[in-house]
Symmetry: C6
Subunit: 78 residues, 6 copies
């Protein structure tokens, strides 16, 4: 009876670059889980997107999510 969108059917991606895109998606979905209001998120976006600390902290989240995704994909080694 789960009605939330399943944004993560799998951690497996075809390429490292797709893994990066997934990491960005996960970071965004986490923010959306805490602040689901689309209007508020829209209002906050220009604030954090022009604040260096917010940008760098976001990059930290992406780096952490990517660690998980990269390990799941065994670093896309052939």
């Amino acid at each position: 009876m789960e009605t939330k969108e399943d944004y993560l059917p799998s951690l497996i991606t075809n390429t490292p670059f797709e893994g990066r895109q997934l990491a960005i998606t996960l970071a965004r979905k986490s923010v959306g889980a805490i602040q689901p209001d689309a209007e508020i998120k829209k209002k906050l976006r220009p604030i954090y997107a022009e604040d260096p600390i917010s940008l760098i902290a976001s990059a930290q989240v992406i780096a952490t999510e990517f660690q998980t995704i990269a390990a799941a994909n065994n670093y896309w080694k052939k």
Copy 2:
């Protein structure tokens, strides 16, 4: 004689998405362990949910919890 709710019977989930949900639960339970007062938590919620840095820092906690859950589930590889 442990009377606290066991919110973590297992780290194993059926899907990656359920793993994300568990990661969010763990992050919330940690905050509740430090600040158990429901009234105060309710008061703080609109503050951090509209503060970019708080939102991004929360996403960082979720990413870290998810690392553990994903490893526990061997990344849900078949």
Copy 3:
């Protein structure tokens, strides 16, 4: 001649939930190692327990300690 309390006889716990409790203990003991004065800790507690950033940062410490504990317990897999 170590006189400090050994608050960590083992990283092994019976359940994931006990692992969470241990993670919280470790986080608290670290703060106590830097600020051992009980009076000051008591004074600081209401401050950080009502500050969203402090709460989230504390949850980050717990998540990190739990990573170690979960790995030590091989994620409590049977």
Copy 4:
């Protein structure tokens, strides 16, 4: 039909130093994913490049990205 530049064809590099360069690239690309506007990024650069906290937080992102890259390369062991 992906039109974004694939800045990460592989996590494998010839040397540890090249791995560091890749880690810096990944950190920068994450910031660019959240703030794609070249003008704004240019405006922010002198701000964070002279702010100690921003510099150290950026180094933290690089360290995290490098962890992933180093593991992918099995630490460049012969």
Copy 5:
């Protein structure tokens, strides 16, 4: 011709508790590497020891160092 004190002859400790003590030592030595002036460190100590964010951030460093030490000791499993 290294004249600096070797504060880390080994990552191996007899017990998890000794591992915690080592983690605290490593965190302190890092601060000392960046700010070696004993007078300044003494001046800063009461400031960060009464600042919740500084205390929690210090606990985060200790948690991270402990991850490394615990892995090195294979989590002190018999």
Copy 6:
């Protein structure tokens, strides 16, 4: 045609202590990659070296870099 100094020929060090020194070097080189201006770095140094949060955040970077180096060296186990 890489003209930048290769400050990381290898992650392998003889001892854990040398590993710590390398971790500090990596943290400093990351800051230098973002802010290469020697004059500005010199100007910032006394600021962050007397700011508790900056010092602790720097220690966090060192701890993270050391995790990678320690794993690369298999924790210097004989």
